[in-house]
């Protein structure tokens, strides 16, 4: 029983982390109609910035906040210098250009920080396991990830649904030409949205860094999952990204946790232990395929344009 609770928490935590990454991606893709493969590079930059600033300042929280600001700024500069020239182009051009950016960022990181990767150690107060219910311990840092991600989700909801900027963002998602025609500075809005998306990616990167490592190309594997999530959730929908991310996180974790034991009941030990990881990693793609068949527009599609 405790095992199930703990694995559910693992899944929730993994899902919420994916949400941070997917939220930025779905904003940029849904509102600006822009395919940004370099989203994973911004995730990587967030982690590198955090590792650098935390080492500089000696404070995890301060360093993380500085890194967040730095990725926001980087996103804005990137949009202003390179990406705004690509809005008029087709998706294929955007894929090519942002793929180029991945190579650019990977080599830039290699030049600046070297090929070996960095460590982002946690402060002592975050490395202790916490007793959540009697007999069940959970890493404090993973609890913090859950809290931060939930806070960000709530904040995003408030910004998008309750503020003027949020209203413009929603309007931009449903009809870009129209809000341009109404005299809204759509260029500025896009720069802001892209900066926000970059900051979210950076946040995901820096939150993930102490669990994983800070290394070149760290954003490339996880970006695939983020794309799966925005497809499942409905492109452009923050709510969809939130629900889909939690779905994917829990399904992935539960699959890895319980599938091998289930398979062992029907297969021989060796065959089961080989097949289980393959099958469990397939589960989320299976989920995506089913959703695409039943609801091609995703679970919570954003308003039609």
């Amino acid at each position: 029983m405790y095992l199930v609770v703990e694995q559910l928490l693992n899944g929730l935590q993994f899902g919420l982390l994916l949400f941070l990454l997917a939220a930025g991606l779905t904003l940029v893709f849904g509102i600006m109609d822009f395919v940004n493969l370099a989203h994973g590079s911004l995730y990587m930059m967030g982690a590198y910035f955090a590792a650098t600033f935390v080492a500089w300042t000696g404070s995890f929280v301060l360093g993380a906040l500085m890194a967040l600001g730095a990725t926001l700024l980087l996103g804005i500069v990137l949009e202003y210098v390179a990406l705004r020239h690509l809005y008029g182009r087709g998706h294929l051009d955007q894929v090519l250009a942002t793929f180029g950016l991945i190579l650019f960022f990977n080599d830039a990181v290699r030049l600046i920080w070297g090929p070996a990767g960095l460590a982002l150690p946690l402060p002592a107060w975050l490395t202790v396991p916490v007793q959540i219910i009697p007999g069940v311990y959970y890493p404090a840092y993973r609890l913090m990830i859950i809290a931060v991600a939930l806070a960000v989700a709530a904040m995003l909801y408030l910004v998008v649904m309750r503020t003027r900027v949020g209203m413009l963002i929603r309007a931009g998602a449903s009809n870009r030409e129209m809000i341009g025609a109404l005299g809204i500075n759509i260029k500025l809005l896009f720069t802001l949205v892209f900066g926000l998306g970059a900051a979210l990616a950076g946040l995901a990167g820096l939150m993930q860094a102490p669990i994983l490592t800070v290394q070149i190309g760290m954003g490339e594997n996880i970006l695939i999952l983020a794309f799966v999530i925005i497809v499942i959730g409905g492109i452009g929908s923050i709510r969809g990204a939130f629900m889909a991310a939690i779905f994917v996180g829990i399904i992935d974790t539960m699959g890895r946790a319980f599938l091998p034991d289930l398979l062992r009941k029907v297969l021989s030990g060796a065959a089961a232990s080989t097949a289980a990881p393959a099958l469990s990693s397939m589960l989320i793609y299976l989920l995506m395929a089913i959703i695409l068949v039943l609801r091609p527009e995703g679970l919570f599609p954003a308003a039609k344009r």
Partner: protein
């Protein structure tokens, strides 16, 4: 006209090459020099270059030419680079290969052309068994040997049960099979994770804790080892269940693992503090030549590969056409290996000691690896019977 000129130039160059080849020793070096694992390839190159420095950049009085090629950690690229080295560069020796799958893809090219290939790391079971060849030597080990040594150490410690975790690919299975071949206690659970994309091991760690196993064994090379140790420590399992490892803590991962690695034992055939004069000189000169870096077992194996080549060329007085004589000389392992003296088995895989290594703070206050004990002496891989060479 211009084209003809260039063509003529190219032909002149092509004709000129065999002339230089005859009075130099040409070595091809295939390793990973791009991507996240480039740090390993760089360490091997650094150590190989240091070995050449120690040889005075000459082998048997001849200048040495080394051509470094990047396999990008991909079997198909490794094969192409090996073909290029054999067919167009016509090298005398090929050295390197971190990854078992890259080596297996490249092996045939080298063997068919009767070019000597020296694996400075990869040790798939096939290489030790049915695919063994007179032209292939190893300065490392066969994959199963290192984890098998760890299994022996766990027996010595009186460990009663273990939970195994490793990546779901060829080497991962070799490694877990290696522990199981020697560990006498109970294997409570065995988990394979998706490789290389799975980064989060929380589900496996939770299962390991709930299995009530007395110990955990893992094999996670490179960055995955850093991630595993981070998560193992953060989940508080480090204080509850001891961890035993193979190829998870080394000088490249240690600066990232930091204190998380303290007290985590590993098995290895070479440790930086092995007390022989050659090894001391190697470690000192490496740290002098490459400030801020420390040599790893990958590097030590590459260094030994250079020495092995040197012994062969010296034995035939530089006549590189005498392949049988060179092979006979290399089989003697007649050089001062950094790990101390070893012998070759019939399959050209070293019969050697494996040591227990632990993480300690050294004199400079930095974390480093230290030899604690000899786990097993003169260990031979268990596939040598399948090799047709006797």
């Amino acid at each position: 006209m211009k084209k003809a000129f260039w063509l003529a130039g190219a032909m002149a160059l092509a004709l000129a090459q065999p002339a230089t080849a005859a009075d130099s020793v040409k070595i091809g070096f295939v390793s990973t020099f791009s991507g996240p694992t480039a740090v390993i390839g760089n360490d091997m190159r650094n150590s190989f270059e240091l070995a050449l420095d120690h040889l005075g950049r000459k082998i048997d009085g001849k200048p040495v030419e080394v051509i470094y090629e990047d396999d990008q950690q991909k079997p198909d690229v490794g094969k192409q680079k090996t073909e290029k080295l054999v067919q167009s560069d016509k090298v005398d020796f090929i050295v390197g290969y971190i990854w078992s799958n890259v080596l297996l893809a490249s092996l045939k090219t080298a063997v068919d052309s009767k070019t000597f290939l020296i694996s400075a790391n990869a040790g798939p079971s096939q290489l030790a068994g049915e695919l063994c060849s007179p032209y292939v030597f190893s300065t490392s080990w066969q994959n199963d040997q290192t984890p098998a040594a760890m299994g022996l150490y766990m027996n010595q410690k009186g460990v009663k049960s273990v939970f195994l975790i490793g990546p779901n690919y060829a080497a991962g299975k070799d490694m877990l099979a290696g522990v199981k071949s020697t560990f006498k206690g109970e294997v409570v659970g065995e988990e394979y994770t998706v490789w290389p994309s799975q980064l989060d091991f929380s589900a496996e760690l939770t299962k390991a804790r709930n299995s009530k196993a007395e110990s955990i064994f893992v094999f996670y090379p490179g960055a995955a080892g850093v991630q595993f140790l981070n998560q193992y420590a953060q989940a508080g399992i480090k204080a509850q269940i001891p961890l035993y490892t193979a190829f998870t803590v080394d000088e490249l991962s240690l600066p990232l693992q930091k204190d998380n690695a303290i007290g985590i034992p590993g098995a290895q055939e070479w440790v930086n503090d092995l007390p022989n004069a050659e090894n001391k000189k190697f470690v000192e000169d490496y740290r002098k030549k490459y400030p801020g870096l420390r040599p790893t077992y990958y590097g030590a194996q590459a260094y030994d590969a250079a020495q092995l080549i040197n012994s062969a060329v010296v034995a035939v007085n530089g006549d590189l056409t005498k392949k049988d004589a060179m092979k006979a000389e290399m089989e003697k392992a007649n050089f001062k290996s950094l790990r101390g003296p070893f012998k070759y088995g019939n399959n050209h895989i070293p019969i050697q000691n494996f040591y227990l290594q632990d993480v300690v703070k050294d004199a400079d206050g930095q974390l480093s690896l230290k030899t604690v004990a000899t786990i097993v002496k003169d260990d031979q891989d268990k596939f040598h019977d399948k090799c047709s060479m006797k």
